[in-house]
Point group: C2
Chain length 193, copies 2
């Protein structure tokens, strides 16, 4: 064979990884198959040896992105890593806002997630339920757990939608303060270890 059997899966992996960044940066509609392929040094026509359609790639990308976002929110295995409060602080950082291509898929795609087919919405839903469980474990309150996720995602979206750095920082700082308060209110009396 002209290509080693590992070649296809390597190319596929590179394509997915590159697509994850590009799609988060520019959105689902605005990123064409040609752009995705040339980002891994291939021509547009070769795409269809790897996926039957652009939609199929989008599904895979969203699946991996959601899985990744959940794993980033998850507490580190034994002990010792950053706390949920600390991970949230990093989420609500200028660094995250300025680099959607490396960040969470939820604020990067935003409203586009409301327009994807139901099968893909199921993936989002499962991921959000996992995130909710992680937050619930911390704050022991169903509502507060959903609100924590909502305001994290919302703050990053809003911070990206304003022009000035000053307002961007205000939004992030304000939300960080509120999140600290939310965590503290729901964990007082519950020793953390």
């Amino acid at each position: 064979m002209r290509y080693p059997k590992t070649h296809k899966e390597e190319t596929r992996r590179k394509l997915i990884d590159s697509s994850r960044a590009l799609l988060k940066q520019n959105g689902l509609d605005a990123t064409g198959v040609d752009a995705l392929m040339s980002s891994v040094g291939l021509s547009g026509g070769a795409f269809y040896s790897h996926f039957p359609s652009k939609q199929a790639l989008l599904e895979e990308v969203i699946r991996e992105e959601i899985q990744h976002s959940v794993s980033m929110l998850k507490p580190p295995s034994p002990e010792g890593g950053p706390t949920l409060a600390q991970r949230t602080k990093a989420y609500l950082s200028v660094q995250h806002v300025e680099h959607p291509e490396m960040g969470c898929v939820l604020p990067a795609l935003g409203a586009e997630l409301g327009r994807i087919p139901p099968e893909v919405k199921s993936i989002i839903e499962d991921g959000l339920k996992e995130m909710h469980a992680i937050w619930y474990d911390e704050v022991k309150d169903e509502g507060a757990a959903w609100a924590a996720i909502a305001q994290s995602v919302g703050a990053v979206i809003l911070a990206r939608a304003v022009k000035s750095d000053a307002t961007r920082r205000e939004i992030l700082k304000g939300t960080r303060l509120n999140m600290e308060r939310l965590i503290q209110q729901h964990t007082t009396g519950t020793p953390s270890s």
Copy 2:
């Protein structure tokens, strides 16, 4: 003249109003000039008698949408209308989530707002500052005011991104409860009238 002088502005008005709904429903990129024009019963070519480009229409639409969202958040002139808490409850409703075309522009466009030109981001920013002032007036806390806006927008986006009605309702209900708590915490000791 073949058309009365009020005709152009009437057509323009109808076009903008119709565009506001369509763009919020389908997104900025996915809605073409032809679709916008045929929604008011005209052909695509006639568009350019009203706007020099699609981008110019988008700016006008976003400007009016932001202005409208601010006016919806604003307390009714003298007294007697719904409270901020009540208006927030309506914002976090299934009705709002299921009808993006009639709802707030921020969750309807979401991440797309992060990719518009700086001039338009200024419009968003000014509107967000007005919304922040309205919230600050209620809760007297800069951070809580930003967090209130962020979690409202975020919750609507997330509610639209999940498949099941049950989870949709959970997200909205949880966020509503948290918003009530936020308002109550920051207003105790401050009589409301």
